[in-house]
Amino acid sequence: MEAISVIFSVAFVAAVLRVSTPLILPALGGLISELGGVINIALEGIMLVAACAGVLVSVWTQSAWLGAIAGVALGMFIALVLAFFHLNLKADLILAAIALNLLASGGTIFVVYLVTGDKSSTSRLVSGQMPFLSDFIPSVRELGDLGRLLDQNILTYAAFVLTALVALFLYRTRTGIHLRAVGENPEAARSVGINVRRMQYLALLLSGMLAALGGVYLSMGYVKFFARDMTGGRGFIALAAIYLGARKPLGVLIAALVFGAAEALSIQLGNLRVPTQLVQIIPYFATLAALVIYAVAQRQRALARQRAFLQSRAARQV
């Protein structure tokens, strides 16, 4: 069948890597915030703002790098606002994050309209794009299929490197260990002199940074423009990936790749004769299905243990 051959092509794997990047980065950020005990629901809004700021600053400065730096800085600033509201002003973390998401959605359109007079996208502007591997090593293009696989945006490479760095940070550095201790038992952390608030600020700032990188990739790597609500719920799918990945860096990476594969599939099937509406729900449906399967599997395991226990006890009594 056509669909099968599509899935096993190099192009498909390359596409999976491409579409997974804006899931892996925010998911890693979300993971850090979750382990710090301050789950960042504003990943979506932060991505959106970073995507928008990156494009506009790159247009203005004619430098993709400056655009990216501006996007990340603004994303971290929003995370800082969230942290300030929650940690200093004691606002509810979830509500504050929802407010920021709504603000990001409306605010980015407003700014885009002010700059371009267009309410839907910046496609009329000439904006920067973060380099691909072939921009550094042009000979990659001559490698054929392998070349197509390797010629990814540097932010895609960054996503994988950052997964390893986040794991190293969380499990091997003192700061990372303190951050996890704060998330699991803040009282215990405080009692040994760890500054709980400072750790939670750090967790939210890092989550903002990683989500912003994901946003920058969307508008300056994956495509070369900003479009209204272009994150399309990726910040929320990233949240799902945290739990599906069992709150471990490698697990989160794999979960994000699974979701990415679902999205890549929907893109590939879009070229075939399948109704687009049906195809477009695939990534969201995959997210939902994965979470249901995860929950059912956990419950099954509990029931199996219960049955095994009752049986072994019955056997002992006979």
Binding site: T173, S191, A302, Q306
Partner: protein, 518 residues
């Protein structure tokens, strides 16, 4: 300026007034000699925790001075207390459950190489400290997988690793079996021998007598006296604590045991996570008796109570009340069948804190006359009901409209007791009925439980306080790992040690023996 002093820690004229006007400490003078075991005793709310929080830098005194090794100091945070060599083992452990013991011991002061944690070194440090002070732990086990006694040793090791010379132990035996307590006492003696000083907070006078060199007694925010332990009796200490003679020995009429009221058969309970908490539990509670359930907390007592009360679903087995099957029935049906329940977690399950006393007293019967007629609440009936129970149960409150949150622990518990006993139950389940309750209110609660028993109510008493079980129960059922390990008649010659063996699982009765007695 350093002055010669016989004390390692001295707190002079300490007062503490909280912003809400509560005077927790008034002109307290407290001094500890080096290498002594100094007990600090007092009722709940007497101010001992506040005093120790001040010493450990968690609270600032309103006035007064602290000297450590003769030097005046001001301690602003636990960090500063630790730097002065003062360590504290809190009552609820300050551990990170998923971290290993070694990680917990070094947390906040990790050995590191090039900014990365040196885990091998952490394990080695833990192992050495453990051997040096005779505090046996498994450094690489995650804390969540080890028993309470070991978690406590981890807390002590944590303090020692940070260089503590003075260790404050806040009610360390509250969660231990008698045997674990013996082990802890041996460890404390070894600590003192190697030059440490121990402050031992407790309200268990027997333990204070057994372990301490000197004892300071607090009452009503003041330090009553500091005496040599060898020179006072338990009764004298009790008198100093409460200012009057209190014997928590309960006078009970001989039991008139009736028909079985509660019959539990082969009860199994498995948590969502798949942990088996009840494993084939079978027993009866008869009319007119108090069945005490003893056991270290976390061995299935909470689950047993909540399954019977309809708050959790059993995986298998049967619960019958006067012959009626109430297994996995919803709580309301269980209550209508005649079960009253004093829950162990009073603040979340016993009362609605923000609501009034009157409202809390009718939550189980508001929909019935006289409180509701024709679908409308009858405020006069509610108020009258509250007034009567406040009077009858000596609840110290201005009136029924006062929010329950404004009451002390003892009076809050009296509200729960009043509601449950006034529902004329056939079975009364009392889980940890005097936890966090002062001695005066505890006495009252004991009287009420015994009165209910004398009136033919079947009483199931679950308590982590073994002496409470021993002074109230007619029979004692011991639970360990979700099983009944013994059912004993509470005869005068029954000792805490004898029960302790069953609590630890060192000894267990045969199934036949349990079946015959349960």
């Amino acid at each position: 300026m350093t002055q010669a002093t016989p004390f390692i820690v001295e707190m002079r004229d300490i007062s503490k007034v909280y912003p809400n006007g509560v005077r927790a400490n008034e002109h307290v003078n407290f001094a500890v000699r080096p290498r002594e075991i100094h007990a600090l005793v007092g009722e709940n709310g007497a101010g001992k925790s506040t005093l120790m929080k001040i010493l450990y830098g968690m609270e600032r005194p309103s006035s007064g001075q602290i000297f450590v090794r003769g030097k005046p100091v001001s301690i602003h945070s636990p960090h500063e207390a630790i730097a002065l060599g003062i360590g504290m083992v809190h009552q609820n452990f300050m551990l990170v459950p998923s971290f290993t013991i070694a990680e917990n011991v070094v947390l906040g002061a990790e050995p590191a190489r090039r900014r990365l944690l040196d885990y091998r070194a952490a394990v080695e440090i833990t192992r050495q400290l453990s051997a040096q002070y005779g505090l046996e732990v498994d450094p690489e086990a995650p804390v969540e997988a080890v028993p309470v006694g070991m978690r406590q040793r981890v807390e002590i090791l944590k303090a020692l690793y940070r260089g503590a010379d003075v260790l404050i132990l806040d009610e360390p035996t509250a969660v231990l079996t008698p045997q674990e307590t013996h082990e802890l006492f041996a460890a404390i003696r070894q600590l003192v021998q190697s030059g440490k000083t121990v402050i031992f907070i407790s309200h268990k006078l027997r333990e204070v007598k057994a372990i301490s060199d000197r004892v300071s007694v607090m009452r009503n925010a003041r330090l009553v006296d500091t005496v040599n332990t060898a020179e006072v009796s338990e009764e004298q200490l009790a008198r100093m604590m409460v200012g009057r003679e209190v014997f928590l020995r309960v006078d009970k009429a001989p039991m008139r045991r009736g028909e079985p009221v509660l019959q539990v058969r082969d009860l199994e309970y498995v948590t969502e996570a798949g942990v088996e908490m009840l494993k084939g539990v079978s027993f009866n509670v008869y009319a007119g008796e108090i069945l005490g359930v003893a056991g270290v907390e976390g061995n299935g007592q909470t689950e047993l109570v909540e399954v019977i009360a309809g708050l959790r679903s059993a995986a298998a087995g049967q619960v019958r009340l006067c012959g009626v099957d109430i297994t996995n029935a919803p709580p309301r049906r269980v209550r209508q069948a005649g079960v009253a329940h004093i829950p162990e977690d009073r603040l979340t399950n016993g009362v609605a804190l923000s609501m009034s006393i009157a409202e809390n007293l009718i939550v189980d019967r508001y929909e019935r006359p006289p409180f509701t007629r024709g679908g409308l609440m009858q405020p006069a009936a509610v108020a009258e009901h509250a007034e009567r129970l406040i009077d009858q149960f000596a609840i110290r409150a201005p009136d029924g409209d006062a929010p329950v949150a404004s009451l002390s622990g003892g009076n809050m518990q009296k509200v729960v007791l009043a509601r449950e006993l006034s529902s004329s139950p056939k079975l009364l389940i009392a889980a940890q009925p005097t936890r966090g309750v002062d001695i005066g209110a505890s006495e009252f609660i004991y009287e009420q439980l015994v009165r209910a028993r004398d009136n033919g109510v079947a009483v199931l008493l679950v308590s982590a306080d073994l002496s409470e079980v021993m002074s109230l129960a007619d029979r004692i059922m011991v639970m360990k790992d979700g099983r009944i390990t013994a059912v004993l008649d509470n005869t005068p010659d029954l000792t805490e040690e004898a029960i302790g063996y069953y609590m630890l699982g060192v000894k267990r009765m045969s199934a036949e023996e349990i079946a015959a007695r349960a």
